[in-house]
Symmetry: C2
Subunit: 546 residues, 2 copies
């Protein structure tokens, strides 16, 4: 428990009361202060030295070896390490085997470099250690959080001044909620949608109180469903499972050739449901603003219209695409989002916040009343206690980070990042089209695209073939892409992810997926990544062709 | 977006690409590095200067005034503040209005001082910014997390070596899960319990797929319930609501005179359910190891026996009390916890971690298979991707903090903290009994107790009175305690919380609640807190008596 690194003699570490107390006291001693600051220096800069060149996702064999170092399941009675050794251990032994998500060569997932100041802001949150579940452990942070929620609410819904004047600090208004991540934000939205649908009425106390089976009886329903495109995030299915709706009742609607929800298919699915003798109700329709796999945006205005007609809850999963609203150049891609009843946005994605920050917003500030809970010791009715309308209880003051980041960056700063990502995706798409080994599968709408290796010979074979030979070619091409992606990942210099796209009436296809969000990723780097894929293909997959 | 604090001329802040890129780059420039470190120094020590004396929960009027400072709902286009100004703003303007949960005079909630090194560890987590949802964005952290889960699993369940050898790094074993907080840990446990009960069988694909109404049909059930003592945390009720069980089906069982679940009442409730013509099934029984309000522990061995007899899922909510297992002196208070099917523990409570870290553990490492989800782009079957069996998706590498803390503290260090809290609660109880103005309501079992002001005259009045006058006295006493607690909180020097305890056949009583977890809290401080309450009572409530 010593914080003093200058012990040269290796003394035995023991847990004793005096040392223990010291770690809780504000250090007045200049030497101890200097040591604590020195550790921060190591953390700030030492960590960033790891894996300068490599993204660090290597072969599975190395993972097994790595796992072997983490097989001890006992905790030692006495301290086994000093703080100094723990920090250097993390920097020297752990970090080099972590994934260098900050590398501009890491363009495979929705995790990227974050601005330096985010680390400082996270440190402030830890040092203050407020718990936003209630006013008595957060005070100013509770009202600050309400402001931040209103700011993002305004970006999404753009209500008039009077609306925000009324609700921004109203104890009983909930413009939104912070929660661990997008999965729980989607869960919260569908929880609210479920409870709004099966609301209390004479003889029925509401689904939250009585449960799903009783709700079905009270409303004479035999099945309820949620509709989302086949590219919906798996958290929506999971929410269906958790909420007692049943995940098979989260219906998958086909996408059109632009990877957007196919309106014809949606309408026919709705017609089928109306004809369903099992008395099926639609709880919610979900539009996606930036699908995980292709980055595409569903036709939000049309979805809003369909929902409005039948009074269906319209949720938009903008976990990825939400911050695009800050870009004057590209916000129109999300038009119609203001018509949603609820919207999911992730802070740790395109707000470039540290892991994690999920958010869910509601157009109607009373909608969360359907999920309100009170407790005697905290969260008393009528108070500003934020835990009253929240899936989660104890929570960190993540809003401090977002608020500060908005001050430091301005919408203009975020807009530059968003614009850069979209522009990079466009130039990458052009480059892919220019290279004959590749096929662009889903062109970028936001800053995500998918493509695949599709050698000229196999393309011809596919074009000329019958159904069966096309299937065989596709399987072969899939295998090539699987292998190239794996070999590139194992080489550890760069990382592009892969996924499998389903297309109506066709064989599933394996694609490579690039997510362009790191401002340090340039076209030169993207060129190198494609070069490497070409080289892997020519050297290791089809050496005879070259 | 400038990180340079030495601008003496107030230049206009604009969002431009060059500055923007700079905030993402590892600074090589010594001057910039020094500035970033200086900010950390401000954060580490500046923040701790706030409110040296006061806990900072002041009157509601000040809250309204405070809220008025957070009414702007627009985000400015250009950066409005430099990082330096944001940090000093947080330190000078925000922190003084936050709650000083680290004060040894703050003994009202389960939030307290944390060791200094926790802030460093949280900073490391932010700087690495791994996402533990999948291996491809976390690598070593995924196997490290599995190890930490096994270590705590062993503390709870104490299985033999072979068990941990087999499961610690097995990709398909889930010994537990990290999640945002205890609320979500309890939700996860009941989710698993629900799905295990309504598991797939011929003609039924399981409740997760088909939903609650279909599950009821398939299992010929008309209602299912969860049982917990009346002191159960409100998150259990909320879980019942979320999961489609209905929160009124989370049945509240009376407590005995020791604030533990009354076994006679439980058994009779179970008998009633068996007689219920509505075909009711018991999904789970929850034992509490450290209730939020009184810190008491339910009779876990007896609960385990009842559950085992009828094959009922036995969940223990040890969000608060779990780490007591690390104390050789007091772990016997939790005996029987190893018989649970699932256990909730919070890291941000008695592991003294920063906000937040919830955990849920399962005795059977296959139980979480009932909640497994896969996705093409991440979380592929058979992989170590931790997101497969998890309520939440994206998650921070919180396990790094717990692992490091266990290394730095040893079980011995934690044991000292636990022992100190329990000892302080005992001496505070003695002091309360010694002072005639006070009545000890629930003596401490762990480190929480409740008491109230109950002036001698009113005690006699109550003892001699009939039912109606007793009711009147109790209401009067309740009002006194409400007022004293409020006035003490508003004075801002110390903080004791209050709650309302329900007792069978009696009027609800308002009690003061002390949570003793801060190692800097001494008996002298506790004496001052009681003195202040006496003074408030004599000066402001009953000045005529003195």
């Amino acid at each position: 428990m010593s914080t003093d690194r200058n012990h040269t003699v290796k003394t035995e570490l023991v847990a004793d009361w005096e040392t223990l107390q010291r770690i809780f006291i504000r250090p007045e001693n200049e030497k101890v202060r200097a040591t604590l600051v020195k550790y921060m220096e190591q953390i700030l800069f030492g960590l960033h030295d790891f894996l300068m060149q490599h993204v660090g996702i290597t072969e599975e064999v190395s993972l097994k070896k790595l796992a072997d170092q983490f097989r001890e399941s006992r905790i030692s009675r006495h301290p086994s390490k000093r703080l100094a050794d723990v920090i250097s251990g993390l920097i020297e032994d752990v970090a080099p085997h972590a994934v260098n998500v900050a590398s501009p060569y890491f363009v495979g997932h929705m995790t990227s470099a974050i601005p330096f100041f985010m680390v400082h802001l996270q440190t402030i949150v830890a040092a203050l250690n407020q718990n936003v579940v209630k006013l008595e452990t957060s005070k100013v942070v509770s009202v600050l959080e309400k402001q931040v929620l209103a700011k993002i609410h305004r970006v999404i819904f753009d209500k008039p001044d009077e609306f925000y004047d009324e609700h921004i600090q109203h104890p009983e208004s909930a413009l939104g909620n912070f929660v661990e991540d997008g999965t729980l934000a989607n869960l919260t939205a569908l929880w609210v949608a479920r409870n709004s649908f099966f609301r209390p009425k004479p003889g029925f106390a509401g689904v939250e109180k009585e449960g799903m089976a009783a709700a079905f009886q009270a409303y004479e329903v035999e099945r309820c469903v949620v509709m989302v495109s086949q590219l919906g995030h798996y958290s929506l299915e999971k929410a269906g499972g958790v909420l007692g709706i049943g995940n098979r009742n989260v219906l998958s609607i086909d996408v059109d050739s632009h990877s957007r929800m196919d309106m014809t298919h949606l309408k026919s699915a709705i017609r089928d449901i109306r004809k369903d003798p099992r008395k099926t109700k639609i709880l919610a329709i979900v539009g996606i603003a930036g699908t995980t796999e292709t980055g595409t945006v569903d036709p939000l205005p049309e979805l809003a219209e369909i929902c409005a007609e039948d009074d269906i809850h319209f949720h938009v999963d903008a976990a990825w695409g939400g911050p695009t609203l800050l870009s004057e150049n590209h916000r129109s891609l999300l038009s119609g989002i203001n018509l949603a009843d609820s919207v999911t946005i992730d802070g740790h994605k395109q707000f470039y916040m540290p892991m994690t920050c999920g958010m869910v917003y509601f157009k109607d500030p009373c909608l969360m009343d359907t999920v309100a809970y009170y407790a005697n010791y905290i969260n008393r009715p009528g108070s500003v206690d934020l835990g009253i309308r929240s899936l989660v209880g104890s929570r960190a003051a993540t809003s401090l980070i977002l608020r500060s980041a908005l001050n430091i960056m301005g919408t203009g700063g975020y807009a530059l990042l968003i614009d850069h990502g979209i522009e990079m995706a466009q130039v990458l798409a052009e480059e892919i089209k220019r290279r004959e080994l590749f096929q662009l599968v889903t062109p970028p709408e936001l800053n995500i695209l998918t493509y695949r290796i599709f050698p000229e010979g196999m393309r011809r074979e596919w074009a000329d073939g019958d159904a069966q030979s096309r299937k065989a070619v596709t399987q072969q091409v899939n295998q090539i892409n699987l292998t190239v992606q794996r070999l590139q990942r194992e080489a550890g210099k760069s990382f592009v992810s892969r996924t499998t796209l389903k297309r109506r009436g066709c064989e599933d296809i394996v694609v490579l997926r690039a997510v362009l969000m790191n401002p340090m990723t340039t076209m030169d780097i993207l060129g190198e990544i494609l070069d490497e894929q070409e080289k892997i293909f020519h050297d290791q997959i089809a050496p005879d062709d070259s």
